[in-house]
């Protein structure tokens, strides 16, 4: 059951909170952690019991590998390395089998005359997110950066339900210390958590689902071969850009808010990405915990590993990293092309910056509106691939965006789509982020730089309580019509 369901809001969350706080009041923090971990498993099982049967043995395997690495690190580094490879192979193998086996077989069949029979594979929700968190843990243990190998804290870190289904991709080093010192959260954190959860719910239910109502019919029309004119194609991608931002950042706000109710701070995942001044800046603000993982555990090691490529090692590593980033979202060529596009953007940005090194920066374009506008347009064009049903549809939409299908045609949705997209995007461009309204800060490692408080700042006051309560009521009344979170599919 997702966050934006009656079952979660009215049944699961109150029960989980009541049990957790009761056990803390009885001075049994370890039992409280065990309770939340079991509750997380129960929530996972409401989707499919088989998910539990897959994820629990994988957690036990991680722990066995981690203890083995620690025991052998000093005297048998070769064994420790072999164990790391085994642990990575188990986790990546499970992900590859569940998520990519069908894609692989399908493309193999297309290239050859083989006819392979593949049984339908169960794809546990969130496994892509879990796999990266587990990989980071295993690598950190191998590097000797992990002190705490307690089994319950590891299980609690992996399964903690606010981040179980779609991240944020937290590090063990961020969560385990918090899980080791569970305590009744301060009243201010609880109210901030409720506020953040409500803001996230509103982003999803009121904004994301509203703009999706314009984006989806246009993408569907394009998939059926209708040529989208200039207004319709821009309306489609702009409203999708608004949809995916409010959908995923709304989910994340709900995750951070729910975690705060348990006194846990999850890392921040969004920082007004559509205001980014360049494409590298975009990736420091969009799905920040994914780009952080890819940077630290893939891109940097890859750059060092390919140093023999000389000047090409960084562009090569950027491209490979972003291709994998694309494929991580799902086994589809549209995601691969989306990743390749972002990789190409980052390479262009890198080469451009490199050519301008040593040049005086006073008149830098990055400081003019040109940088943010170009970045936004590039990101928006790439969404065409991310959202389209297949590559020909995405190309048709790009053709429309270039004005090759005429300026304004017959499709009636397009004006509404542009209007809705700009309405939502104004918020994303100029509004304060929800995290800054409630002064949310993640665990120390991922804390964004201290910034001035926005013009609208939450305080635990009656006026805010009434406003947030009304917003919550409006959202809850609309729950019966909402759609699934986009990122649950990844």
């Amino acid at each position: 059951m997702p966050f934006h369901s009656y079952g979660f809001i009215l049944l699961f969350l109150p029960l989980a909170l009541a049990g957790f706080h009761l056990l803390l009041r009885l001075r049994a923090p370890r039992a409280a952690l065990g309770f939340v971990t079991l509750a997380s498993l129960a929530l996972y099982a409401t989707w499919d019991v088989r998910y539990v049967a897959l994820v629990v043995p994988l957690i036990l395997a991680d722990l066995a590998v981690a203890h083995g690495m620690r025991a052998s690190a000093a005297r048998h580094p070769g064994i420790a390395r072999g164990l790391l490879m085994t642990g990575l192979a188990i986790n990546l193998g499970a992900l590859a089998y569940c998520k990519y086996a069908g894609f692989f077989v399908e493309n193999l069949e297309r290239l050859t005359d083989f006819d392979v029979i593949l049984h339908t594979v169960v794809l546990p929700i969130g496994i892509s997110f879990l796999t990266f968190q587990k990989i980071a843990f295993l690598v950190d243990v191998y590097r000797g950066d992990v002190e705490d190998l307690d089994w319950l804290r590891y299980a609690g870190f992996v399964l903690f339900f606010p981040k179980l289904l779609s991240g944020p991709i937290a590090y063990h080093g961020e969560l385990a210390p918090q899980l080791a010192t569970l305590a009744q959260p301060a009243a201010r954190n609880v109210t901030a958590g409720i506020t953040l959860f409500t803001f996230g719910l509103a982003k999803k239910v009121l904004v994301a689902d509203w703009v999706a109502g314009y984006a989806s019919p246009l993408f569907d029309a394009a998939a059926q071969g209708a040529p989208l004119d200039l207004a319709a194609s821009w309306g489609a991608v702009l409203s999708y850009g608004a949809e995916i931002y409010f959908d995923f950042s709304g989910y994340t706000d709900m995750a951070l808010g729910a975690a705060l109710l348990f006194g846990i701070r999850l890392p921040v995942n969004f920082d007004a990405p559509y205001r980014a001044s360049d494409i590298a800046d975009f990736w420091r603000r969009w799905h920040m915990t994914l780009s952080r993982f890819l940077r630290e555990y893939l891109f940097v090691p890859l750059s060092f590993g390919t140093h023999w490529l000389g000047a090409a090692s960084i562009p090569f590593s950027l491209l490979v990293t972003m291709l994998i980033c694309g494929l991580w979202h799902g086994p589809r060529w549209t995601f691969v092309i989306w990743g390749a596009l972002h990789g190409a953007y980052l390479v262009v940005h890198y080469v451009w910056n490199r050519s301008r090194r040593g040049v005086r920066r006073e008149a830098d374009v990055a400081r003019s509106p040109f940088g943010p506008v170009l970045t936004f347009v590039a990101v928006t064009a790439a969404w065409a691939f991310f959202r389209a049903a297949d590559v020909p549809t995405a190309l048709a939409i790009l053709k429309g965006m270039a004005g090759l299908n005429g300026v304004a045609g017959s499709l009636t949705h397009s004006d509404g789509a542009l209007f809705a997209a700009f309405g939502a995007l104004l918020l994303a461009w100029f509004g304060p982020t929800t995290q800054r309204i409630v002064s949310y800060e993640g665990p120390e490692q991922s804390r964004p730089s201290a910034k001035a408080r926005p013009w609208i700042a939450w305080t635990p006051s009656p006026a805010w309580a009434i406003s947030v309560g009304c917003l919550f009521a409006v959202c809850v009344m609309r729950l019966s019509r909402v759609t699934e979170f986009i990122y649950f599919r990844f």
């Binding site: 590298a280 940097v300 750059s303 060092f304 140093h307 960084i314 890198y350 090194r357 040593g358």
Partner: protein, 77 residues
């Protein structure tokens, strides 16, 4: 003191012929020293001194002084 070889490597990569750094200098003090040119700096220092860094070692670097200390540890050990 920062080695002249290290200074020269930084000047080459960052294309700042007049750059002077000390132990306390951090990347954000120097124009153009962003996360990607930082990687280039590290790859160039590897070449210059004939050493190999592990990605764990370089993630923890905070200043030019840290980088100098890492290079010294590698070349002496």
């Amino acid at each position: 003191m920062i080695d002249e070889r290290l200074q020269a490597a930084l000047r080459r990569v960052l294309r700042l012929p007049d750059l002077v750094v000390d132990e306390a200098t951090q990347a954000h003090d120097v124009p153009g020293w962003d996360s990607l040119s930082h990687l280039e700096v590290l790859l160039e220092v590897q070449r210059e001194y004939g050493v190999r860094f592990r990605s764990t070692e370089v993630i923890r670097l905070k200043s030019v002084g840290d980088l100098q200390a890492l290079v010294r540890a590698k070349t002496q050990g």
